[in-house]
């Protein structure tokens, strides 16, 4: 029995230089990353937003000092950043807690394959982070504080988590892993785009005293369409929703319908989008949704017949949207429904007949049975 202990002791003596120890205080915890590539010169600017732990913990003095600090570096190749950061950053780069990566539109248009390759190589960088394209310059976004959630990374992450609840797997398919998965697919993926409401970044902590958030804040504007890792176009939010709905990712969204001259808001829930392939007549998409009335402004008594009318209106509205998406796909030559991935040949997918059968059933109507209204004399 004594022998293994002696062996063990000399092993421990051997590795007194414990290689992988890194103290918590020597870590620069990166929470938000941003990358921009200048199309002409090809120099890459990387922004790292690092958390300042003492600034965050209320216990310590003041608490007014900044929650995050942003560093940015310029390099001509991605790999050199880990070394370049030692020139300015006093601490060691620590990437596992990064919540989102923001890429400028011009970099997206050149194709982000090199970023994806570099990112996936090291296990320290995790690939289930949110992938975002920004229209406004990266420096304004990365250098500004955010209200309510003092760390911008978590601010963006909680925003995407909220929208994520409307999607099948609980997460919106806007993460780096969905991006990588779609590189070889012909069906495009849509990543969210953001804009900064003012051209001046809110980079001082006084910002936290201002009440009006909209003056300087990050806003989700829509979707950027990526095919084979290159941005080819942009969607607004409604088309993005329809795109995810028809591809079976979406489960709930809110639709407004006009009936008898008034507006009704409906929440469509547990949406099922099945694809039925008939050999002869192409693809029929059967979509079914349960409706819940959120806002009813009609000035007639709610009745069963009225509910059916609402369902009809919803089906018609959804049919229109689906057809417009189909037209957009064919016009822009983007295989939005992923037909080629499901076996349709390259040449034939644009003329491939697609028909929609949309059905819905109004299930819940909320607290009041019918709306308040004045009988028109």
């Amino acid at each position: 029995m004594l022998k293994p202990i002696c062996l063990w002791a000399c092993i421990i003596l051997l590795c007194t230089g414990c290689w992988d120890t890194k103290e918590i205080n020597q870590l620069a915890i990166v929470n938000l990353g941003g990358v921009d590539k200048n199309p002409e010169t090809g120099t890459i600017t990387a922004y790292y937003q690092v958390i300042n732990p003492s600034g965050l913990s209320a216990r310590l003095s003041g608490g007014q000092n900044a929650a995050v600090y942003t560093f940015h570096f310029k390099e001509y190749s991605l790999g050199k950043f880990t070394v370049k950061t030692n020139t300015l950053m006093p601490r060691q780069l620590f990437m596992p807690h990064m919540q989102a990566i923001i890429v400028t539109e011009r970099y997206a248009k050149q194709g982000v394959l090199d970023l994806l390759n570099y990112y996936e190589l090291s296990p320290e960088r995790r690939s289930n982070i949110v992938f975002i394209v920004t229209e406004s310059p990266l420096s304004t976004i990365m250098n500004s504080y955010t209200p309510l959630d003092r760390i911008p990374g978590r601010y963006i992450r909680s925003l995407t988590n909220l929208t994520g609840q409307g999607y099948t797997s609980g997460f919106e398919p806007i993460r780096m892993r969905d991006m990588i998965k779609s590189i070889y697919r012909r069906k495009p993926t849509v990543m969210p785009t953001i804009k900064y409401t003012s051209n001046r970044s809110a980079d001082t902590t006084e910002r936290l005293e201002e009440a009006d958030v909209n003056k300087q804040s990050i806003v989700f504007t829509g979707g950027a369409v990526f095919i084979h890792g290159r941005m080819v176009g942009r969607f607004d939010i409604p088309t993005k929703l329809i795109f995810s709905l028809l591809n079976g990712d979406l489960i709930t969204y809110v639709e407004t319908v006009y009936l008898n001259g008034s507006m009704i808001d409906l929440e469509a829930r547990d949406i099922q989008a099945e694809r039925h392939w008939e050999s002869g007549s192409g693809l029929t998409m059967k979509v079914h949704a349960n409706l819940r009335v959120i806002n009813n402004q009609q000035n007639i008594v709610m009745s069963e017949q009225n509910l059916h009318a609402i369902e009809e209106a919803f089906n018609k509205k959804l049919e229109e949207k689906a057809q417009s998406l189909l037209k957009l796909a064919r016009q822009k030559n983007w295989d939005l429904l992923g037909l080629q991935d499901q076996g349709v040949e390259e040449r034939k997918w644009r003329t491939f007949p697609v028909s929609f059968e949309i059905s819905s059933s109004a299930r819940m109507i909320g607290n009041t049975i019918g709306p308040y209204f004045f009988e028109k004399e």
């Binding site: 421990i12 120890t21 918590i24 915890i29 929470n31 732990p53 310590l60 596992p96 919540q99």
Partner: protein, 483 residues
């Protein structure tokens, strides 16, 4: 010391051996009429009142005339002395041993015989509650230093004819009497034989406490884990005997050794059998969980803080980073400081009077911990980790098991400080192999889990209600439950 008659060789010999000690008395008692006898004993370990009243006086009063029926003086002596005669011995060296054991030896020159009367003075303390194994519900009786009363305590609980006591006398100097006891119809013969051979194979000069015996009869000397259970509670010993285990009582110590001990028996305190079944099961799981807690918390803390920070969720990581802002030492050094201070406090707590002891050690740790945090030597999380391990260490019903936990906790912490999670897991595998390779009297140490005996799970991992328990544990291959 009255003048002795040179004719008596035996008396002179005894005197030669014991004469020097001040408490040796050799009285020459004249029986009415013609003959006389010698009565020898040691005053310090005999009950002088018994000797005067019940031995010397009757000898004096009996006169040879009124009971002529006796042929010689020996039968006369036997008839007259009311104290139960221990035995009649002839050989020369026995008298010294008997005198040393506290008996009174009577030498009758006329019939050349030696009579031994048991007059030992037993002024032992009364039966009190065992302080180390206090229970909320259950008998308050604990064993005593006197082996006879211990046997009595066991016999009161196990009134079965199969309860066998085998006597051994071990230790050339101390000659301590050792009783090995088991239930003949339940205990497995192989285990009993193993016990018997090991006890009789002990050659040492002194056995002062059952711990000596424990080291002699255990299988593996270099293992921190106890292989024999030492307890002060007669009800626990009785319960184990019924299960088919063997107990070893030692003269002069209340701690009784019960074997073979397996790993999972250390999680069950005797109190489990007096609580209701579900409470007892939950308590047992709590003890198992606290065992894991005691071993892994400091090691995991050190491994995660200094090697794998990505395992922490972000808010916790920020919090820890803020706390450790001004702590100068790396995590492993900080952990070592705190653990060692706590061990010192605990040891000090033990030496102090019993009541103050436990409280002092815990309060001390927290107070010192808090001061250290203020002074910025240690991070607050570290104080929590250390006190958590300390508290979960106290919970183990067996003190020797608690010490084993502390040794492992220390080893794991060093490993995780050097190699992180990888080193820790290597340590866990090493511990598992070590645990599994231990045999306690032929019974595998991790019995109901390692060689999977599902029928035993009902009494180790879970305590099922008494009315469901038909057969005793299968792992001890007991006769009744023999498969």
């Amino acid at each position: 010391m009255s003048g002795f008659d040179p004719v008596e060789p035996i008396v002179s010999e005894i005197k030669a051996v014991l004469g020097h000690s001040p408490d040796f008395i050799c009285r020459k008692v004249v029986i009415q009429g013609l003959s006389h006898v010698y009565c020898m004993y040691l005053t310090t370990i005999t009950d002088s009142s018994v000797i005067d009243e019940l031995i010397v006086k009757p000898i004096k009063e009996t006169s040879l005339q009124d009971n002529q029926s006796f042929k010689d003086s020996v039968s006369l002596l036997r008839a007259s002395i009311p104290v139960p005669e221990k035995k009649q011995i002839a050989s020369k060296d026995d008298p010294v041993k008997n005198i040393l054991e506290g008996n009174c030896v009577i030498w009758d020159p006329s019939s050349q015989t030696l009579l031994v009367y048991c007059t030992a003075k037993n002024d032992y303390r009364s039966i009190t509650e065992p302080s180390s194994e206090a229970v909320i519900r259950g008998p308050r009786e604990g064993f005593l230093e006197d082996i006879e009363s211990n046997v009595g305590l066991i016999r009161k609980r196990l009134k079965s004819s199969n309860l066998i006591f085998e006597e051994f006398s071990i230790g050339s100097a101390t000659k301590t009497t050792i009783y090995m006891t088991y239930l003949a119809n339940v205990a497995d013969d192989a285990i009993v034989k193993e016990f018997r051979s090991r006890i009789s194979a002990v050659q040492t000069d002194s056995i002062l406490e059952s711990a000596y015996m424990e080291e002699w009869i255990q299988d593996k000397t270099f293992s921190p884990f106890p292989q024999v259970l030492s307890t002060e509670r007669p009800d626990a010993v009785a319960a184990k005997l019924i299960e088919g285990q063997v107990a070893v009582l030692t003269q002069g110590t209340p701690m009784v050794l019960v074997g073979p001990l397996t790993f999972f028996q250390m999680f069950s305190s005797p109190e489990d059998y007096y609580q209701r079944a579900d409470i007892a099961t939950l308590l047992r799981w709590l003890r198992m969980f606290s065992f894991l807690l005691a071993i892994f918390t400091p090691a995991l803390y050190v491994a995660i803080v200094s090697f794998h920070q990505e395992l922490l969720p972000t808010p916790l990581l920020i919090n820890l980073a803020a706390q450790r802002e001004e702590v100068p030492f790396p995590a492993i050094v900080e952990a070592l400081i705190m653990i060692i201070t706590f061990e010192i406090l605990r040891e000090a707590g033990l030496r102090m009077p019993r009541i103050a002891g436990q409280a002092i050690s815990i309060v001390g740790a927290l107070v010192i911990g808090q001061a250290a945090v203020e002074a910025g030597l240690v991070s607050a999380a570290m104080v929590i980790v250390v006190s958590l391990t300390a508290i979960s260490n106290f919970i183990s019903p067996l003190y020797s098991f608690g010490i084993a936990q502390r040794i492992i906790q220390f080893a794991f912490m060093l490993l995780s400080g050097v190699m992180g999670l990888f080193g820790l897991m290597c340590g866990v595998f090493f511990l598992l192999v070590h645990l599994v390779s231990i045999r306690s009297f032929g019974v595998k140490y991790m019995t109901p889990l390692a060689p999977v005996i599902v029928s035993d799970w009902k009494d180790t991992l879970v305590r099922i209600p008494h009315n469901w328990m038909k057969r005793p544990t299968g792992s001890l291959r007991t006769k009744k439950g023999r498969r």
